[in-house]
Amino acid sequence: MSHEHTSAHGAGHHGDGHGGHGDHGHLPFLAHHFDDPEQQFDSGKLGIWIFLVTEVLFFSGMFCAYSLYRSRNPEVFMFASQFLNEALGAFNTCVLLFSSLTMAWGVRCAQLRQKNGLVLCLALTLGCAAIFLGVKAVEYTHKWDIGLLPAGSYLAQPEVPVHHEGLSPWLINLSIVPGILLVAFAVWLVITFVKGDKRMSEIAGTLLATAACYFLGVFVGLKFQEAEASSSAHAAHEISVEHDGDTGSHEAGVTADEHAQGQPAESATSESANDHVSGTTGTEAPLKEIEAHLVSLDAPKVVPGAPLDAMVNQKGGAGLFFSIYYCMTGVHALHIIGGMVVMVWLLVRATKDQFHEQYFGPVDYVGLYWHLVDLIWIYLFPLLYLIK
């Protein structure tokens, strides 16, 4: 962080009168106001730990909101968490854990002055981060499509979604920036390759791979989702056949809560779920897919007699859960993006071979930050995805 202080000060003031401070001029990485590298490293280390403290307290606000509303309405959380894809969450957890491993390994490489190892570790970490974001993009856009939005815009029952073939328009919109980056990095790689600038090629190649990893993440996310949908569509079909007589007369426009009010609690969900299916038998395929998903997520899991009523599936119920979900995971994702930016900075410096036994502070500091981001996800995953 502070390796350039010496040069900055050299330019910033008259050189006279400071002869006494040239004694450590032979250490280019040592800032002028520190006595020795150890003091500089300790300061940086303490600084980053304190920064992590602020991060912990920053997230504590959302954890506090989570515990407040969960303790107040546990049934809402149980209901709403069923809409989260557990498999994707677990996959993402593993991806982040792996990125933590590569980051820790990277720190080790920096300490041992293994330049190539460090670059590789940083590239892997960046790639994992991009995969994580890709999967998250799939998760988010899928929810937006079916109306699982923050409380104010939450739709208890999905409206007829925008017609689209296969891919969600939200997902396409979200992928514009990574797409542009992908193309830009590819062009850059070609240019540097033509120029023969090996160092730049290395950087451009890593960035290209990172951008590509985002799309890998999207791909994996979609596959998971497809698998989930097809396996549960089968189950949904069985249920709808079973209840065909009861639900045939219902229209899809009836909202789930209105509907549930008039029904015995134990059958509320499966009934309303069947509404979606029976109401859409004649419509297009994408619609079916989404509704099959809804069915798959809540119908098979409802225990008969569970206290699931109209009060849960509404703006101020499940909607609140999704508010908290988006805040927590959204802020976490922002931290991932921030981490990626500093990691690119590290990558550039690593290719210049600036880190060695005596000076590896920045890699260490970024590593600590990255592990904290991982740490927060370790708690987010069970708290949001695994509630039963």
Binding site: H13, H14, A151, G316
Partner: protein, 571 residues
């Protein structure tokens, strides 16, 4: 800034290099990494904010001269008091002592060359500038009227559009919060890792203890403010509903979040002021501080206890009974360390030599006002009286006694105290004392009647009031203008000293802390080599030399002499 940077008339006579003139030009200031220049820039910034906030305060008091409408309608009045509160809290008091004086003093007092992260320091300053401009523009342009606390659901459902003033203002607060966190982080690391050999924890000046405690709060509490305002912005933009009762959210949750930061923030405001007073009382009584360790520990204790008492802002807000009682008990725990400090300051004067100059007058003024502020806290901490006094003028008077009578007076006193060191100029002591007297009279005249207003039932944040309260309000308004005049006199004294002040000696007050061992103003590097650390409150070796009009260290060891005569050391 330019007034300080470019006062050319007197600089020619000074041959020694100092941080003010070692480099010239706008960019040498704008891009400086020197903690002293950053401190000065902060000083100009917070003083400008104080001017804005102070004029708004006069506007409020003037409007309240009559029970009915004088020149502000209800909406304007609400906007003015919101602006006053927000500007004073976020732009003035929180950065005043830590960022302005602290930046200047912490490394010099430590005998270090700079803070640990100079670029983070500059970044923090520009975040503050950016945040302040953003915040002020947002407030003035959009007319925020929620009060500085942004209580939901008023702030989340007032008539403004989705991207209304609340969103802009909260973004401003968010940026300012980062500035505050970076300053705090920097100081903690600096004090931890950059103390010179020999400066043990208990050889640090008490100002550093106070700054350290303040920084702990800044680092621990400010992030929670960050997430709170972020959630509030999300509440407006995305309607996330967790603070909104219309979506089954709960407004009291917002209050918990907000006060988890904003109560410790009260100690961000007052602790550095207490640190200044510890220095001032000792130096100007020419007497080693009484009960050093008690004062040091009480600073840390206040910082920690400060996190346990936020609920006392919500005694009538619908909290559960058990929480209310617990918070009341914890609230009283904070009063003890504050009392310890006051008694120790008082005892410091005992058998000393009290120099009644301007900084000391401000310190005594502080002692008087802060005692009132602290003692009136008893009424508000006690549950039954709080139920009558909460949200009345009693509270207004109480926190103005603490924050303004405390922090502001300490800040001005500290400014006078370190002014010779910062600028190399002495000020007119008589006029300084006159300003102190005016501040004292004006302050008490403004806020003493407000205690009575409060106990008689006058609620706060009222644009109009019943006629029975008029006389007290008028006394208060008159006092506010006396107070304003006093502060303008103080400003005049300082500006006059820049123009006409005689050159300051290295140690005009006879203080023993390290910053007085370097020249006034200090050179760019503060100390040619790490200074030898002595007891910061040992006045025995200091002798007054009348040719220098200042104090000089006479000690058997010669180690400090190069600092006393830096031009010799340089050659």
């Amino acid at each position: 800034m330019s007034a300080v940077a470019e006062s050319p008339t007197h600089s020619h006579s000074q041959v020694t290099e100092n941080y003010l003139f070692n480099t010239k030009g706008f960019l040498s200031w704008a891009l400086t990494l020197d903690h002293k220049r950053i401190g000065l820039m902060y000083l100009v910034g917070v003083m400008s904010s104080f001017l804005v906030g102070g004029l708004l305060a006069l506007l409020i008091r003037a409007e309240l001269f009559t029970p009915g409408e004088l020149f502000l309608n209800n909406k304007q009045f609400n906007q003015v008091f919101t602006l006053h509160g927000a500007v004073m809290v976020f732009l003035f008091i929180i950065p005043s002592v830590p960022a302005a004086l602290g930046n200047f003093l912490v490394p010099v007092m430590l005998g270090a060359k700079d803070v640990a992260f100079p670029r983070l320091n500059l970044c923090s300053f520009y975040l503050w500038v950016g945040g302040a401009i953003f915040f002020l523009c947002a407030l003035f342009y959009t007319g925020l009227d929620t009060g500085w606390t942004f209580y939901t659901p008023y702030s989340s459902s007032s008539e403004f559009g989705t991207m209304g003033p609340v969103v802009w203002a909260t973004m401003g607060v968010f940026i300012l919060g980062f500035s505050s966190i970076f300053t705090g982080l920097n100081f903690i690391v600096t004090i931890n890792t950059m103390r010179p050999p020999g400066m043990a924890w208990f050889k640090m000046p008490l100002f550093l203890w106070a700054t350290y405690s303040t920084s702990i709060i800044q680092v621990l509490a400010t992030p929670v403010l960050g997430i709170t305002v972020l959630l509030l912005a999300a509440e407006r933009v995305l309607k996330i509903g967790i603070f909104d009762p219309h979506l089954n959210g709960d407004p009291v949750t917002y209050q918990h979040f907000f006060w988890f930061y904003s109560h410790p923030a009260v100690y961000i405001m007052i602790l550095p002021g207490m640190g200044i007073i510890s220095e001032l009382m000792s130096v100007h009584s020419h007497k080693s501080i009484f009960g050093y360790r008690f004062i040091a520990y009480s600073s840390v204790a206040i910082a920690i206890f400060g996190f346990l008492v936020w609920g006392h802002h919500m005694f009538t807000a619908g909290m559960a009974e058990v929480t209310t009682v617990v918070f009341s008990a914890l609230t009283f725990s904070v009063s003890i360390p504050s009392a310890i400090k006051v008694f120790n300051w008082l005892a410091t004067m005992y058998k000393g030599t009290v120099y009644l100059n301007t900084p000391m007058c401000y310190a005594l003024n502080f002692l008087f006002l802060f005692t009132i502020g602290g003692l009136t806290g008893l009424w508000l901490g006690a549950l039954s009286t709080d139920r009558a006094l909460h949200d009345t003028y009693f509270v207004v008077a109480h926190f103005h006694y603490v924050m303004m009578g405390g922090t502001l007076v300490a800040f001005v006193g500290g400014l006078f105290h370190w002014w010779p060191k910062m600028t190399g100029k002495m000020f007119n002591d008589l006029w300084g004392k006159i300003s102190c007297l005016l501040v004292f009279i004006g302050f008490n005249m403004t806020f003493l009647p407000q205690f009575v207003l409060g106990s008689r039932g006058m609620p706060r944040r009222y644009a109009r009031y019943l006629e029975e309260f008029q006389v007290l309000h008028q006394i208060s308004t008159a006092g506010a203008f006396v107070l304003g005049a006093g502060l303008f006199v103080a400003l005049g004294v300082l500006i006059h000293s820049l123009m006409r002040g005689r050159r300051a000696p290295n140690n005009p007050w006879g203080a023993a802390t390290l910053e007085w061992q370097c020249t006034s103003p200090p050179p760019f590097y503060n100390f040619a080599s790490a200074p030898s650390v002595t007891d910061p409150y040992d006045y025995l070796p200091l002798k007054y030399i009348s040719e220098e009009e200042g104090w000089v260290y006479i000690s058997p060891t010669k180690s400090t002499d190069p600092q006393a005569h830096p031009e010799i050391a340089k050659s």
